[in-house]
């Protein structure tokens, strides 16, 4: 494994090129549209989980309402493209910006709250967003939802088949990874992580925790909005029941299973959860039983997720325990 890492460090460009080539070929090698649809779904959830990971994994807040931002993005896209004929490509960033603005609104309580209180506020906000989508009939179609959402159009080519849609999700996903990794390796990302590790210390170093949390929330919401906008034409039909808190919990499970605070974790988590739920479909209710058992087992065996470091703060690693003992002695 170390060797692989070394190889990656030395030949970054080659690794990227290979990955790029493989990802380009995938939709032409895989014939079954359904498999491609699943791959699309995986990429979609990977980005959504990634956006949640920015909030939960990198700044250590407990947001349970990612479904709400997702919902905003999807409805923005559906309403604008369907009712006003706005191009998908213009709607995409718009949806992100709108979601980010709502994210700002939701994050305002975070200036005062933390922990459990923050979780319930985000959870409540997500439900409120969903109910607004369900009742604001003129814009969102109310309980009817919005159906036959126009497919994106690229130079006259209607991107209907999963084969084309694959590239939309791929580009968004890669952009997300690229931009996020850059942000995380800068002053902004360091400030987020400082807040996650120790908020009091971060404050003492002049990190404007409130502002950082707000931008963090907005950033996460932005990408959730974008992926929501890409989701709407993909499924062609949206209604409010697709954005319940269960969706939020599901995405959270992906992040935690893959590994919070790692860039690749949400991708792995999304792949595992999606493939698991699809392949076990024939088990009906037992499928959820198995899924639940996997979640619990995961928390017992690897609480930091598959890709998380065993010694991270998110794992409640050894250092923490040691310190606890010391603290105990001192007291």
């Amino acid at each position: 494994m170390e060797k692989a890492k070394d190889f990656y460090e030395k030949h970054k460009l080659i690794v990227y090129l290979i990955l790029f080539a493989v990802s380009l070929v995938v939709p032409f090698v895989i014939e079954q549209a359904l498999i491609l649809r699943y791959i699309c779904t995986i990429m979609m959830y990977a980005t959504l989980a990634g956006s949640l990971n920015v909030i939960n994994g990198y700044s250590g807040q407990t947001c349970l309402g990612q479904a709400g931002f997702f919902c905003i993005g999807a409805y923005t896209c559906a309403a604008l493209t369907k009712n006003f004929g706005v191009s998908f490509w213009i709607v995409l960033p718009l949806a992100g910006i709108l979601a980010a603005l709502v994210g700002l609104l939701v994050s305002l309580p975070t200036l005062k709250l933390s922990g459990i209180y923050l979780s319930i506020v985000t959870l409540g906000a997500s439900e409120i967003i969903r109910i607004i989508a369900q009742t604001w009939t003129p814009v969102t179609g109310g309980a009817l939802g919005i159906k036959q959402i126009p497919y994106p159009n690229l130079f006259g080519l209607e991107l209907f088949r999963p084969k084309y849609y694959y590239f939309i999700f791929l580009i968004i996903g890669v952009l997300f990874l690229f931009i996020t990794s850059r942000v995380l390796r800068s002053r902004v990302g360091r400030a987020w992580m400082a807040i996650r590790e120790d908020q009091v210390a971060a404050k003492s170093l002049g990190v404007e925790t409130s502002r950082c949390k707000c931008t963090n929330f907005m950033y996460g919401a932005f990408w959730a909005g974008i992926i929501g906008a890409a989701y709407a034409p993909f499924v062609n039909y949206i209604e409010s029941s697709q954005f319940t808190t269960d969706t939020g919990f599901n995405v959270l499970a992906m992040v935690v299973i893959g590994g919070q605070g790692t860039l690749l974790g949400p991708i792995i988590g999304s792949a595992i959860v999606t493939i698991l739920t699809e392949t076990l479909r024939f088990l009906e209710n037992w499928r959820y039983v198995i899924y639940a058992i996997i979640i619990i087992l995961m928390m017992w065996v690897r609480p930091q997720g598959l890709l998380g470091a065993s010694d991270s703060i998110l794992a409640g690693g050894k250092i923490r325990r040691k310190e606890k003992e010391q603290g105990g002695k001192k007291a």
Partner: protein
């Protein structure tokens, strides 16, 4: 490094006037006046529960005082939030170590450079000139500090894995990255062995020679008496004495309230003599 020349040496670096903090009926800090002049190594001592850390917390904006004011270089900073106070060039460390334990030593110090840099999200996405300048500055600055404090070889180690004494040093390094005029150290020598303490004392003196004003809470009498030029003694939240080590030693009230029946006091006197 830091330009200390523009500091007005006649204005107190940190001053408190009638500072109070009450928790319900408990008067944790009661009406404390203090003056730290630029260039001081200022010691704050007192028995456990005397309100030293609470006092620090009010000075650095962690707590809002119940009454009274705090002035930093003549400017009223009472009630400002901790991050605003930090921006006014006051850095601190914590009694019970608040390191970013799961980050590398270098990253710890890098975060200390937060207020010295201005990169925003757009800069970081497009790697603008500002981003590059900032990153260069941050790396350069952090490594310089780590070299000075003798932690350079541990820069990639996870902070939480270091020995206790080392962790204290990381915290100081992190605070230094703020480029502060004044440094507040809360029991920096706790948990260190005598040799480490000695080194730390030297290091603090060196910082002071370099122009930093330093305020330090410490239990170790030897440490305080030997390095500080002025000392504030607190007991039950009240100031009982402020002055040079000699003044403090000869103060009757201090003897009665703090040094008790003589053994520690005798030791302290002996050491100093």
């Amino acid at each position: 490094m830091i330009d200390f020349s523009q500091i007005d040496t006649n204005v107190p670096m940190l001053e408190s006037k009638g500072l109070c903090k009450y928790f319900g009926g408990l008067k944790a800090v009661d009406n404390v006046d203090m003056k730290i002049m630029p260039g001081d190594i200022f010691g704050i001592i007192g028995p456990n529960g005397a309100g030293k850390t609470t006092f620090f917390n009010m000075c650095t904006g962690m707590y809002t005082p119940t009454k009274g004011n705090v002035y930093l270089m003549g400017e009223d900073v009472t009630g400002l939030s901790a991050e605003r106070v930090a921006r006014k060039k006051m850095a601190r460390t914590f009694q019970n170590l608040q390191l970013f334990k799961f980050m590398s030593v270098l990253d710890n110090v890098k975060i200390g450079c937060h207020i010295g840099t201005k990169t925003n999200m757009v800069d970081s996405i497009f790697h603008t000139k500002r981003y590059k300048q900032d990153e260069e500055y941050v790396v350069h600055k952090s490594e310089e500090i780590l070299r000075a404090i003798g932690l350079y070889e541990y820069r990639d180690t996870m902070a939480g894995n270091l020995a206790y004494g080392m962790q204290r040093k990381v915290e100081i390094a992190r605070a230094l990255a703020l480029e502060p005029y004044i440094l507040l150290l809360d029991e920096p020598a706790a948990g260190m062995n005598p040799q480490e303490k000695e080194e730390l004392m030297e290091f603090i003196k060196m910082l002071n020679d370099g122009g930093y004003t330093i305020a330090v809470i410490e239990h170790d009498m030897k440490f305080v008496m030997n390095s500080c030029n002025r000392i504030l003694v607190l007991n039950f939240g009240q100031k009982i004495c402020e002055g040079t080590p000699d003044q403090v030693k000869s103060d009757k009230q201090v003897h009665e309230a703090y040094f008790g029946k003589g053994i520690i006091a005798g030791e302290a006197v002996k050491v100093h003599g």
